[in-house]
Subunit: 227 residues, 2 copies
Amino acid sequence: MVVKDGRTPRERYRTQVRAEIKERAREQIATSGASGLSLNAIAKQMGMSGPALYRYFAGRDELITELIRDAYGSLADAFRAAAASGADLHGLGAALRAWALDDPQRYFLVYGTPVPGYHAPDDVTTIASEIMAVLLDAVRIPDGPAADAGAAGPLEAHLAEHRRWAGDHPADPAALRRALSFWTRLHGVLSLELAGHFTGMGFDPAVLYGAELERLAPPRATPAPHR
Amino acid sequence: MVVKDGRTPRERYRTQVRAEIKERAREQIATSGASGLSLNAIAKQMGMSGPALYRYFAGRDELITELIRDAYGSLADAFRAAAASGADLHGLGAALRAWALDDPQRYFLVYGTPVPGYHAPDDVTTIASEIMAVLLDAVRIPDGPAADAGAAGPLEAHLAEHRRWAGDHPADPAALRRALSFWTRLHGVLSLELAGHFTGMGFDPAVLYGAELERLAPPRATPAPHR
DNA sequence: TGTACATCAGTGAACGCGCGTTCACTGATGTAC
DNA sequence: TGTACATCAGTGAACGCGCGTTCACTGATGTAC
């Protein structure tokens, strides 16, 4: 039996159960961290026996890898959506922050402490470079006088020579540098904030984030609304 | 029996064994991450039975907390040593990077993914604010024309009103901002680098780090050598 | 439409493991008189 | 100096637990003729 969308009921059921397993896994990670993820606990929560999960995932590792993949994917989606609606660097920065705050453990899945032995599968690194591609596209658009306009220090020279990424993208070293600074500075604020290193300091990390963003990309006269 | 330094042989032995336990724990964390730390494995490695460790630590949690405390302490020491030998912001940045690269897992113990339930004990947060105090001292010294000299945006205003940290330190909002930017930007590069997010990009993170540092603190004519 | 067969989700028992932690104990080291 | 006692490091057995994973199976759902 095949229904309109070309998928049998069994297939639909499968993806549905897979989705619920991942949902429960995310809840568990949010509560006790990625290291506290337990297949048996997920099964119990769903009212099934432990071994049943092996119909849907080859094992614990595959489930975690899938969650990491999804996390990367959701950031890429958020970035692409922002870019598609005409967002400039400011908009991308806001999208990054919104994505991070929306689910801190998802953020840590991607940018948190790596487990020493683990190597991300190829498609994950592919998604990562897609994210950088969106950023490089946005950074190319001149949106006002950049604070570092015209600067050509040792980093620019180094990038011009040694970068092995962003293959078919413009080689303007100043743009590459702006993209990298965007990335590192915003992650600097975000990771410290989400890890709680600003608690007790009394100021709002959002303001600090906004100030860093301002330095990187002074907003245009008319900031782009969506579409 | 009491020897010259006022400590009995038993006390000396105790601290020695404690030190070895922590050393083995660090090795284990370096190999398999903090979540892979096992008391029994440490004991076996030291040629003792598992329960013996309970003479030295109340349990696994206390051992981990102690390691985190040590990690904070070693950064504070590195910072204080740099400051004492006359280092400017540039020197502090170099000290931070050296400390981080020397033992990445130690870095993650402090700045890595927090485990959701955990709350750092008071003395750890005390050390954290000592680190910030050293930074604030260094940032006060004018070491050349800062890129953001005279800037007084919304962040400066916000800090002037809302900061609840660095109690008896100068309230100059520009200095506070410089300290915060120093902190977030350098950690941005470091955390992404140590988590491996630059691998495959072909450039040297050290150059990027140096460039960010340059922006924050243009070196004086004669950079301060140690002492 | 009904029957025979194939697919596949889920179960329950079991395996082996390592974990943190407790407990009563032995034996060596140090202390007091 | 020798003897009686106290301190304390370390042992071995045991407890209870939850983990990931395998296996042979039952029973429901779907497919082919």
